[in-house]
């Protein structure tokens, strides 16, 4: 059986190949007719892949089990929304989604190409086409979702999606992440086009800023959503396990964040040019590397698709990218000489450089931890692994340093900051931060790192407050505005700058939440019979009811737990954790019950009946009231603020991306700005 999808997929492969070959030829020969043709091919590929995707979706919605992929990842029980999410629930469909998103980004870029210099645009086209063609090749030849099952008899029902994945998060988390990953192709395409064309003015940098921010925003949201999903769904009380696949999504985020900052240094001081090219290339390359990790089976992970041959193809792709970019940098070395040097460590460019080095450092350490099993086996003959303790031990000081620099960077002057200015900006926040640390140590002398962290956060808050206070005061010298109005106008008139401050503030909120919920977490395993109770932290938990309910494809063990205050008198909540047993595949999932307040989360997971015979359900009905059941409980202080902080980060990013933000779009504008005095320049960035 052939459906439209297989046809459009193959056509997309041909068209993108045309875009690559014709586009390169047109760019080299400066043939504008062929160039227009290649440009349009990018848009057509986007359309074709959309049709392919819709066609595959139709097979899912119509339960067409002739297709192996549909059979593997769906069944008759699933609601339409989960059927849609099943499209990317397995290897084949997820690769198609990746190719689709990549092609859509390319298509949108072609439609919004105003302001891009001709020579750069002409090379962007073959880069986009080449990258898209590579991923379409993977889908078409290696992981084709339109493969048929070997059997001649069409199955009546499918195998079904892993129940763990049948969750609303499945609808947004992978697409958001993939949008982040594939979106990073755009800045890279600009970067590579600049190198290929020889147009190494700063044009490529500020043209890509918006695109980088958009991709970064998707990636940030995708990662936080993943953490949230793990938290509410998996039942181990945490949101980040330093799992290899989690890390794979984190690596490009780190370099992209670094890139967002160092771009500003090149714009202002004309330095770090090669560094920016490297970061931009790394960010895209790490997304390909991440997909390699996930699909090659080279490291074991809870997220990984099963081991396949597909993974190694991505290594080849990475090799090509690295080889191409390195040789181009070598070729264009003379045009990449810096216009200035870093004159002082007490300057914004130096602080941004430290910020970058730390982010890249975290990237390196995380990568080291992920690859450690392979490295240790190769070098020492004995395979070893490292887990969360390693990552936390190494990355915590690095994150703390990052927070520290986050307090200094936005305020310190470019080029060189005078001692007087440093004292004026940082003395009081530093004092404030130190006082907070001392206070924390006074309350609990054993926890040094959290005390320092809270002190650092306070320091940064202090510098932030100082910034806003000084800027608002300047506004009010010239206008009749009140305090609140002037602060509001700061955000309205300079959304780029103050959106950035908002993002940093969101990061602070997340940092506080992560510190509190990790260090001061209470964890307890216990068993209860009905009407028994136990005290945990400042709560008392009483097992009220224990029931079993049968549903269409699973049996649920449900517990009703009354939450009381420490005295055991007042009811402050009611939690209903569940454990589900799926007959098909003999799988179990846990449905966690969480009571969220601004001060803490009370997180309750039902681990199961204490008897070993969980399979036999008939006799249980009458005896449940006498059986004992095990729970895992966590009290996670300030947990909610992690998600709130994430939203603040998103809000700040949207502010920076918003319509009022003034983004310099031509090299001439930038040169003009650079010629003016410091104040005007600060406004631009």
């Amino acid at each position: 059986m052939i459906v439209i999808g297989s046809f459009t997929l193959a056509t997309a492969w041909l068209v993108s190949l045309f875009g690559l070959i014709a586009g390169s030829w047109a760019a080299k020969r400066k043939n504008s007719r062929l160039m227009a043709s290649a440009r349009n091919s990018v848009i057509i590929v986007g359309l074709l892949l959309s049709l392919t995707f819709i066609s595959l979706g139709a097979q899912f919605l119509s339960h067409n089990y002739r297709f192996a992929y549909v059979w593997k990842t769906s069944n008759n029980h699933m609601e339409p929304l989960y059927l849609v999410s099943a499209i990317w629930g397995g290897m084949d469909g997820s690769m198609l989604l990746w190719a689709l998103m990549m092609s859509l980004f390319g298509a949108v870029l072609m439609l919004r190409r105003d302001g891009i210099p001709r020579d750069i645009l002409s090379w962007i086209v073959p880069v986009l086409s080449g990258a898209t063609n590579f991923f379409i090749s993977v889908v078409l030849f290696l992981t084709n979702p339109f493969r048929l099952i070997p059997s001649q008899i069409i199955p009546q029902d499918g195998n079904g999606l892993n129940p763990l994945l049948q969750n609303p998060s499945m609808l947004i988390h992978p697409p958001m992440l993939y949008a982040g990953f594939t979106g990073l192709l755009i800045p890279f395409a600009f970067c590579l086009a600049a190198l290929l064309s020889g147009n190494l003015s700063d044009a490529w940098l500020h043209l890509t800023r918006r695109w980088t921010l958009i991709a970064w925003a998707f990636l940030t949201v995708g990662i936080i959503l993943g953490g949230h999903w793990a938290y509410i769904e998996l039942g181990w009380g945490g949101f980040w396990a330093w799992d290899p696949v989690e890390n794979a999504s984190f690596l490009p985020w780190l370099t992209a964040t670094a890139f967002l900052h160092s771009v500003m240094v090149q714009k202002r001081r004309g330095t770090l040019k090669v560094w920016n090219i490297v970061l931009c290339t790394l960010s895209y390359t790490l997304t390909v590397f991440g997909t390699f990790l996930t699909r090659s089976g080279v490291v074991q992970s809870v997220h990984a698709f099963a081991e396949t041959d597909v993974g190694w193809v991505f290594l080849v792709c990475i090799g090509l990218i690295v080889a191409l970019t390195s040789s181009l940098i070598w070729l264009r070395w003379n045009e990449l000489k810096p216009e200035n040097t870093i004159e002082s460590f007490f300057s914004r460019e130096a602080v941004f450089l430290f910020n970058n080095l730390i982010l890249v450092g975290i990237c390196f350490t995380t990568l080291w931890g992920v690859l450690f099993p392979i490295l240790s086996e190769a070098v020492m003959g004995q395979k070893s692994v490292v887990g969360p303790p390693f990552f936390n031990q190494v990355n915590t000081p690095l994150f703390m340093a990052l927070i520290f620099f986050m307090g200094i960077g936005p305020t310190i002057a470019w080029k060189r900051s005078s001692r007087a200015a440093m004292v004026r900006n940082f003395a009081r926040p530093f004092l404030f931060g130190s006082l907070v640390t001392i206070l924390c140590l006074f309350i609990d002398a054993s926890r040094i790192l959290p005390a320092v962290m809270f002190g650092l956060v306070s320091f940064v808050l202090g510098t932030l407050a100082g910034e806003i206070h000084r800027a608002a005061r300047v506004r009010r010298e010239f206008t009749q505005e009140g305090v609140i109005e002037s602060v509001g106008n700061l955000f309205l008139k300079k959304p780029t700058r103050y959106g950035g401050h908002l993002v940093h503030f969101g990061v602070l909120v997340m940092a506080v939440s992560i510190t509190a919920s990790t260090v001061y977490k209470i964890e307890k395993d216990f068993t209860l019979r009905v009407q028994e109770k136990i005290s945990v932290g400042k709560f008392v938990l009483l097992l009220d009811t224990l029931e079993e309910q049968r549903f269409e494809n699973y049996v649920a063990l449900q517990a009703g737990v009354r939450v009381l205050d420490a005295g055991g008198e007042k009811v402050v909540g009611y939690l209903k954790p569940e454990r589900r047993f799926y007959a098909r595949g003999e799988e179990t999932t846990t449905e966690v019950a969480i009571r969220t307040t601004p001060t803490e989360d009370l997180y309750l997971a039902l681990a199961g009946l204490d008897s070993q015979d969980t399979a036999d359900s008939e006799t249980k009905g009458t005896e449940l009231s006498k059986m004992s059941v095990s729970f895992k409980v966590f009290v996670n202080p300030l947990q909610m603020w992690l998600w709130v902080g994430g939203l603040i980060v998103l809000a700040g990013t949207l502010m920076v991306l918003g319509p009022r933000a003034k983004v310099l779009s031509t090299a001439q504008e930038l040169a003009d700005e650079r010629a003016k005095t410091g104040k005007a320049l600060r406004a631009a960035v």
Partner: protein, 168 residues
């Protein structure tokens, strides 16, 4: 005129290297097989073992505290079995034939696990419906069950959500 860029780079590189090396020393866990442990009965601290639960007796109590004891052997057939002791909640997916990842200490005879992860029985890849296999059927990408890799590495694809993972 010294180059501040390179100084900054070197400082950070040194700091990161120090951090990484000391953390690795503290927290790296050797991955061993049951056979390796049983044939070299010496004390080992901080190891990881991927193995399969045997059909020997699984004993579990919840009073006065949690204590789970069972036996594992290597996933490859016909190996010796190793007793395991775990002071925590028994995952309801734990039974004979299931694969587990254990992290803990070995005293020469028994493995005391501090972390226990069980594998979900259904893997991500399942055999497609075939009413008869044709000779020389070409292998398709994406259909491996990963078993050979499991034996070699001794670690597993895990999909259990039973919450027995403990925090660092």
């Amino acid at each position: 005129m010294y180059n501040r860029f390179f100084i900054a780079v070197i400082v950070v590189v040194i700091a990161v290297s120090v951090l990484v090396l000391s953390a690795v020393e503290n927290s790296a866990k050797a991955v061993l097989t049951v056979d390796e442990l049983v044939h070299n009965p010496q004390q080992r601290i901080g190891i990881r073992v991927g193995a399969r639960v045997t059909d020997e007796k699984i004993s579990y109590r919840t009073n006065p505290s949690f204590l789970l004891e069972f036996f594992v052997r290597d996933i490859a057939q016909g190996g010796k079995s190793l007793p395991v002791r775990y002071e925590g909640i028994m995952p309801d997916t734990l039974k004979a034939g299931r694969d587990v990842i254990l992290e803990g200490d070995y005293d020469g005879t028994m493995l005391t696990a501090k972390q226990l992860l069980t594998q979900c029985p259904s893997k991500y890849e399942v055999p497609l419906p075939v009413e008869q296999k044709l000779a020389g059927e070409p292998k398709q990408a994406g259909d491996k069950t990963g078993n050979s890799k499991m034996q070699r590495i001794g670690a597993l694809t895990q999909g259990s959500s039973d919450g027995t993972k403990s925090l660092p």
